[in-house]
Symmetry: C2
Subunit: 521 residues, 2 copies
């Protein structure tokens, strides 16, 4: 019943989060002695992952669940595989053409599942079925398939249907709906104070559709849903998980917790008590408990003391067994570099391009004509420059403007003051999106002040926003009708290539063949 986190890298020296990622010796011992249910993987490339999953299965007593948070494709977390734009891009397309958007969602599910299976993942912790009806939501935001329950239901159902073309488990998350909060449950426990009727009409329908479509698991949210349970967060609430999800919604698959090391739950009760309470509430699988030995011991004690019945445990074990049987052909799927033929480079790239292009927005007066004989700046702003895997010296957002005479400057939230130090004509690029852990969804008030000043100085000659439509909306208060601008949902290099082609009106061939000065050292 326990799933622990580990890295997709092979070597201990590549562990980046030692507090959550056990070293190989410990993990091997756990798999042997504790007979763990599975792992959730983060870190490493698709190729590394294909080796790591083989290694993990070879260490396991019982074939393992191998799960990953690959909501935006395997390539979102594991480079080499297909990296899709955030789901909200599909919602933007759906508002124009719901059939096309559903087709893209289906392809996104199918390609993600195919590549996951190729790399040895058998449990897809996607789709997010939350309805993001709060632009300030710091944690769901553009990870959602939109702000409209009906569209979210249709798109996530299409995603699930696509994924079902391959032997993999799917997950609807985060029950009963994490879309309307301004608190990040990775840090604190949010309270949702909506009425029962509002929950039933907005938050719940996408879960009902997912269940009807045969979703294999539902992930619980670390949220206090006061209309349903004033005392226990959903993850620990028998009323929400058993009464609502199992009985009223009739869900017979796996109930899995969100990560139990998240602040929203660790601040509520001790790790031992959380483990027991979530099983009491109806959970089958405990994701990332702080210490698997403590979690197992405390559940065992609760059974021995009669607090939890053996029958309750057996029900979960039966569901786990059924889920594993469904994907049993997938426990040794990946094999050497042959796995690479199952990474759909051509189809994946084409589908991503279509979604990016159909969801892009731009001003009417393109292209940007770079002023002659003036100093030009390509100013790139990210949240945290050390956590920006979409950017490197070879990214189109860097290389193409360099080729056109722009000087690169990359700044992040720790250096916003520097933005105003430079008087060059500036192509401003914002790479900021709602993301877990960040704590906020968009621009800080300090950042807003600085951008307002920058625009007052009339140095901004072009604007590209990568990621959040909410940030585009804020900038729309500043931009004049003459300013060339482009908005893209994706932040990855493929999205950058499209944006620079668009803003400068250059061909994809030019982007592809632009030479870099550096040799890669």
């Amino acid at each position: 019943m326990i799933v622990v986190r580990t890295t997709g890298h092979l070597f201990d020296r590549q562990i980046r989060h030692p507090q959550w990622e056990a070293d190989n010796a410990t993990l091997q011992r756990w798999l042997k002695e504790l007979n763990l249910g599975g792992v959730i993987l983060l870190g490493g490339s698709a190729a590394e992952l294909s080796l790591k999953t083989q290694q993990l299965q070879s260490w396991a007593t019982t074939p393992l669940f191998i799960a990953a948070d690959i909501e935006e494709g395997v390539g979102q977390r594991f480079p080499g595989a297909t990296w899709f734009p955030p789901p909200m891009a599909l919602s933007a397309i759906a508002k124009k053409d719901i059939i096309l958007a559903c087709d893209y969602a289906y392809q996104m599910g199918a390609i993600t599942a195919q590549e996951a299976v190729a790399t040895g993942i058998n449990w897809l912790l996607a789709p997010v079925v939350d309805v993001n009806n709060n632009p300030d939501n710091p944690v769901i935001n553009i990870r959602a398939f939109g702000d409209n329950p009906e569209i979210v239901s249709k798109l996530t159902t299409a995603f699930i249907k696509g994924a079902q073309q391959h032997p993999i488990l799917t997950t609807a998350k985060h029950f009963p709906g994490h879309g309307d909060t301004v608190t990040d449950s990775h840090l604190e426990l949010p309270t949702i104070s909506h009425s029962d009727s509002r929950l039933t009409s907005v938050e719940i329908p996408p879960f009902q559709s997912a269940i009807a479509a045969g979703v294999d698991s539902v992930m619980t949210a670390h949220l206090l849903i006061s209309a349903w349970d004033k005392n226990y967060p959903a993850t620990l609430s028998p009323y929400i998980l058993t009464q609502k999800l199992r009985e009223e919604l009739g869900f017979t698959g796996l109930i899995v917790t969100d990560a139990l090391i998240m602040g929203g739950i660790t601040k509520y009760a001790s790790p031992a008590e959380v483990a027991v309470m979530t099983v009491e509430a109806g959970t089958d699988v405990l994701l990332m408990p702080d210490d698997p030995e403590i979690a197992i011991k405390s559940i065992l004690q609760a059974v021995e003391s009669g607090r939890i019945s053996e029958a309750r445990i057996h029900k979960s074990l039966k569901r786990i067994k059924q889920a594993k049987e469904k994907v049993e052909n997938n426990f040794n799927a990946s094999n050497n570099f042959n796995f690479s033929s199952q990474i759909s480079e051509t189809k994946g790239t084409q589908t991503v391009t279509k979604i990016l292009k159909h969801s892009a927005q731009s001003s009417s007066n393109l292209p940007l004509k770079s002023p002659q004989n003036q100093s030009l700046r390509n100013l790139i702003i990210t949240d945290n420059i050390l956590n920006s895997n979409f950017l490197d010296i070879c990214s189109p957002a860097i290389t193409i403007p360099e080729k056109l005479g722009y000087q690169t400057q990359v700044l992040d939230s720790h250096s916003l003051d520097c933005i105003l130090l430079n008087n060059n004509k500036t192509l401003l690029k914002i790479f900021i999106r709602g993301n877990p852990i960040r704590g906020t969804a968009g621009l800080s008030s300090k950042a807003q002040d600085i951008y307002e000043q920058l625009f007052k100085q009339e140095q901004v000659i072009g604007l590209i926003i990568y990621g959040s439509p909410y940030i585009l909306n804020w900038f729309k208060t500043l931009i004049t009708s003459e300013l060339p601008w482009v908005f893209m949902y994706g932040q990855m290099p493929q999205s950058q290539a499209i944006a620079v082609q668009k803003i400068f009106n250059i061909s994809s061939e030019v982007v592809k063949t632009t030479k870099q000065q550096n040799f890669g050292f």
Copy 2:
């Protein structure tokens, strides 16, 4: 006779330098139709490399040379394997204890070779045997085993002997010595105007030692050595390669060019002419010609026209065949994740720690006592923040000061002005070293001005320099006797951990268990 560059990644979408890295379809065609001699790999992790080398050998008609520029360990280029500090660290140790330094050099050669073999590399493009007697050398610098010919000879011989414990080819580079230049041959053709006697007494001895130790190949330098050949760069000079290297020094192994796409040679003649001239000069293997089809065609035409004799080609082919026979057991060495047992994590990490600690320097008045109730800044300066693979959110240089209340700020050469914007008490960390392509070895004059002002403001409370002892020497003119400082040759996380332990006087256990706020998203 042709070695082309490719990426260690498996997928086309991971190609970062399309002008030098062919896509898989092209590479497969070349290997089949052109029967290429081998590849040089850059990019990807050690795990990816182990898959990529298998794939490449499976595509090849004749077993391939698989080469890599892993002068500082396989981990320098391919994460997961052991990453050594730059060779000049060994020179610093040699000045105190030559026997210990030679032991480290031997271990460095042995561990590098073992891990290279494990990942499928059979040709080590190391050691650098250049004598770096010019602190402003922008390209060799700390890649050299020091500035003293005798020490360089001893250390590089030890490295070669260590490497010879494993079935791999070694390389002495860059003939006849690239240590005394202020021009980067990646960009322009440098001229060395030393006399014959100086060359014979300083530059040549390490090559003689390497040849005596049985080095398998010698790499040519793109340098004009005016005392020896006023017209042709060494790479294209029959006098230097055939007369000097083959006949006078008696070298019977492989002569390989430095990369033929480097500015130092492309600006000298056309790709077709360069290919013919280097073979005429005595080269056996052409590394990274701009286009392998053009190189092969032009050499073929030169043979047909009688400009190059068939016998000359056969001599090279014979040497290539002999070299490949030496490593033939290594063409299919890597196999699944089992290769990982040959990555010496424990021994590698221990050896690196010893070298880092023995080559570190520091002020006498450690530890740094962080002032109470004041704003603290952890200011990190790199050359190019987008090309700083030693730094991420989980690096000790970031996490430990954050834990101690310092606010991180990361700036690079494009944002030096920002350094002075902030009045907080500053722990200054410089990550700059001589590196190919950068064009300069140390601090720009603008950077020097800014650091002078920063020190005048008396905000610097501590200093850590990672990489270049020449930069330490420059800072010594600014620092007072009270300032706590540390100098480390290595820039990698392991070096950062040692430096922060030293400057704050904390245990390695604290460094290891410091929790990060982020979850790795």
